[in-house]
Each structure stands twice: as structure tokens, then as C-alpha cells.
């Protein structure tokens, strides 16, 4: 237990902050994923063939390519792309992007592809009569979305979104390759300096289990809340 002490003698505080970092990256990535899903879900549901193709390409490519490869693309290509854009505006200095931003963006794009599929499925399974009824009542399009489609969609989407959250949470372990100090990276550092990889990686596994367990408890509560009346 001494090895997990807080302060300078143990790895407790480091691992605690690393856990917070994992949570922060996961939540940021999940939110970025929602933004992507908000853009690509309408594209996937669109009747326009070209827009439809763009939406399908996004989800197919991201879900068919390993997460690690996407992370490498962002890690090695991220600052290059930003520098290219900056050079158009006449800025030629070296720009380094923060590992947190690169990481959560890479994971966000991946989680967005899964969220898009979830939202598409949820919207498609809303009864057609709901759309027709709101039309008959003369409800405006955006109010229809917020007051009719969204509440029903959320109820259907939450169980699947909890899966996406689990995937996202576990994917953040891959960002450790970029050097961001989250659970995995911190365990790697601790294992290296104490030569006790078995303990630290097992402890990392326990931390991940704890995170997934607690978040599942929370999501189940949400699920109950949104399925009131059903």
C-alpha cells in the first residue's frame, strides 16, 4: 500500500490525477463526438445521394479502421495540418498542438462515428405518426425537433449511447502512445521506475473497471429518468 501513498513517496496522487485526466479526455471526446454526430446524422438520413454518401463514408471508414491508426494520423499529421493552414495566413513558426487536444479530437471523431449510428437508428425507430401528427398540428420544424423528436430519440438512444461511452472510455487508453499522462501512461511511467509492471497495470485495470462500473450506475439512472411514462 506504501507504493500507492499520496505525496512524494508513492504513486497515489499521480494515479489519481491520471484518472481525472482519463475522465476529462473521455468526456471531451464524447462531446466532440456529439458535435460530429449532429453534423453527420442529418447527412445519413438525407435523401440527397451525395450528402448520404459523405455520411456513409465517415461512419464506414472510421468504424473500419483501427483506432490506433487514426490516433497516429492525428498525432503525426495534426500539427502539420495546422501549420499548413497557418502558412496560408503568413505564419511560418513551428506550432505544436497539445496532446490533450489531439487526443480528444482523435477519439472524438471515432466516438462520433458510433454516436452517428446510434442517433440514426433512434430517429428511424420513432413512429412515423409522430412526425405526421406534429405536422398536422402545425408545429414548426425546429420546435418539432426539440419537443417531439429529441425527447423520444434520447430515450431510445441512451442504452446504445452508454455502449459508445464505454468504447470511448476504453479507447482513451490508446492516447497514451502520444504521451498524454492518463491512467495508462502514468502506469507505464510508474511501472518503469519501480520495475513493478504487474502491480501497476493491474491497478490500471482496476481503475478502468471502477470508471466503467460507476458510469454504468449513473447511466442506468438517466435511463430510468428518460423512460418515465413507458
Amino acid at each position: 500500500m506504501e507504493i500507492l501513498a499520496f505525496g512524494k513517496t508513492g504513486w497515489g496522487d499521480e494515479l489519481f490525477y491520471a484518472t481525472l485526466m482519463t475522465l476529462a479526455v473521455s468526456i471531451t471526446a464524447m462531446l466532440i463526438g456529439f458535435i460530429f454526430a449532429l453534423i453527420f446524422t442529418p447527412l445519413k438520413l438525407s435523401k440527397n445521394k451525395f450528402l448520404n454518401l459523405i455520411g456513409n463514408c465517415y461512419t464506414t471508414v472510421i468504424r473500419g479502421v483501427p483506432e490506433l491508426l487514426v490516433i497516429y494520423l492525428f498525432f503525426f499529421g495534426g500539427s502539420g495540418a495546422i501549420m499548413y493552414v497557418a502558412s496560408i495566413f503568413g505564419y511560418y513558426e513551428y506550432i505544436e498542438i497539445n496532446a490533450f487536444i489531439t487526443g480528444s479530437f482523435a477519439i472524438g471523431i471515432i466516438s462520433g462515428a458510433y454516436s452517428t449510428e446510434v442517433f440514426r437508428g433512434a430517429i428511424q425507430s420513432i413512429d412515423k405518426g409522430q412526425f405526421e401528427a406534429s405536422k398536422v398540428l402545425g408545429i414548426k420544424k425546429h420546435i418539432q425537433f426539440y419537443k417531439v423528436v429529441l425527447p423520444q430519440m434520447l430515450r431510445l438512444a441512451i442504452p446504445n449511447l452508454s455502449n459508445v461511452w464505454q468504447i470511448t472510455l476504453k479507447d482513451t487508453s490508446l492516447i497514451s502512445v502520444t504521451g498524454l499522462v492518463e491512467i495508462m501512461r502514468q502506469s507505464y511511467i510508474a511501472a518503469g521506475s519501480t520495475r513493478d509492471p504487474l502491480f501497476f497495470y493491474s491497478f490500471a485495470a482496476v481503475l478502468y473497471l471502477l470508471l466503467t462500473y460507476l458510469s454504468m450506475k449513473l447511466i442506468n439512472k438517466l435511463e430510468v429518468k428518460y423512460s418515465r411514462g413507458y
Binding site: V65, P66, Y72, F76, D196, Y201, A205
Partner: protein, 223 residues
């Protein structure tokens, strides 16, 4: 766009795909056995056996694959006792460590897929078998397993694709699989987009093949 790099890196990446495929097939074969074993244990009425199987699948599905590989590759080598046994011959090779981690991981997911497939079998099938006087062992092998395989095909197809993507983690334990070679080329040439397009296309092609095969099998086994 550096098309020359794309063309020169293609054979290298294709060569590395062979390792990816080997890892995938080995872990799927072992994983299927583990999955079947734990699915049967999950249906056992003994509470301890049942909880053990549940715990196994909960732990392996609740932690990242990366942690599992690191525990097996870096962690197990630490146990002095293991180093003196025959197991060490296997455990010192990153290739086998990766396969063990992948097989245990996919085994956990497969056990859940198979369990739900077994549970959705209509009791009528089993009762029909019983009333025909077929022994319960043969009912299991000739009725329950074939139906379960058909029921679990779509979900298992997804699991194969997830495992294909999972094999990319082998590159973190020094194996030069498709992702490992892609990362090596990216870090030596600093042309991430070109390499990503080539490596990504190879992965997408494999995903497409798996998807088509599963769709074909689903059609073939449908009743």
C-alpha cells in the same frame, strides 16, 4: 500528395498484413473455444461457476485491451516462478502474448454473444428433441449449437471486425503488424496522410471481406 511513397509503401504494408491476419485468425480460433467454454459455464446452475464466468467476461469487457496486453507481456514476466516453467517459452514471445491477450479478450465478448444466442433458442426445439428420445448430449451438439451459431452470426461478425481493429495493438508490444509498419513509415517519412490512406484501405478491404462473408453465411444458414 506523395504518390510515390504510397506505391513504395504498399508492398511493405501488404507484407505486414500477413502478421495482422495471423494474429487475427489465431486469436479468433482460441477465442471461440474460450467463448464457448464460458458461455456453457454461464448457463451452469451452480452459483459459483456462474459468477466466475460472469466475472471473467465483466473484467475483460470492462478494461481496455491495451491494459490486458501490457499485463500479460510486461506483467507476467515479473513473476519469478513463471520464468522457470515451460510457460515461459511462450510468454517471452510478444507474438504469443498478443495472441493470448486477444484470445482472452475476444473470448469474453464471444461468450456473451453465444450465451444470448443459447438463451434465445425456443424451448420447443429442445422439447421436441427430448420427446424423440434424443440424449441431452446429442441435443446440445446437434440442435442447440447449430441454432446458436446461426443466431450469433451477425453479432459475431461485428466481433471479428472489432478484433481485426484490436490486432493493431500488437504494435505496442514491438510486433510489426500493419499498424506497426504504418507507424514506422510515418515516423521516418513524416507523411501521415499518404500512409494512412494506404494502410486504412487495406484495413477497410479486410473489413469489407469479413462483412461480405458473414452476410453470405447468414443467408446460407437461414431457415
Amino acid at each position: 500528395m506523395d504518390f510515390e511513397l504510397m506505391i513504395t509503401s504498399f508492398p511493405k504494408l501488404l507484407n505486414a498484413t500477413l502478421i495482422t491476419l495471423k494474429l487475427l485468425i489465431a486469436s479468433l480460433v482460441f477465442g471461440l473455444f474460450i467463448g464457448l467454454l464460458f458461455a456453457i459455464l454461464r448457463m451452469n446452475k451452480n452459483l459459483i461457476v456462474n459468477k466466475f464466468a460472469y466475472g471473467y467476461s465483466y473484467v475483460f469487457r470492462g478494461t481496455p485491451l491495451l491494459v490486458q496486453i501490457f499485463i500479460i507481456y510486461f506483467g507476467l514476466g515479473q513473476i519469478e516462478y513463471l520464468r522457470s516453467t515451460v510457460l515461459w517459452v511462450i510468454l517471452k514471445e510478444p507474438y504469443w502474448c498478443a495472441i493470448i491477450a486477444f484470445a482472452l479478450n475476444t473470448g469474453a465478448y464471444t461468450s456473451e454473444i453465444l450465451r444470448s444466442a443459447f438463451q434465445t433458442i425456443k424451448p420447443g426445439f429442445i422439447e421436441a428433441g427430448k420427446s424423440l428420445g434424443i440424449s441431452s448430449k446429442i441435443i446440445f451438439y446437434k440442435i442447440q449449437i447449430p441454432i446458436a451459431i446461426r443466431q450469433s452470426l451477425p453479432a459475431y461478425g461485428n466481433e471479428i471486425i472489432l478484433m481485426l481493429k484490436g490486432t493493431s495493438l500488437a504494435s505496442t508490444v514491438t510486433l510489426m503488424d500493419l499498424t506497426g509498419v504504418a507507424k514506422y513509415i510515418i515516423s521516418t517519412t513524416f507523411k501521415p496522410i499518404e500512409v494512412f490512406i494506404v494502410a486504412g484501405s487495406i484495413y477497410l478491404f479486410m473489413t469489407f471481406l469479413i462483412h461480405t462473408t458473414i452476410k453470405y453465411l447468414e443467408k446460407k444458414f437461414s431457415y
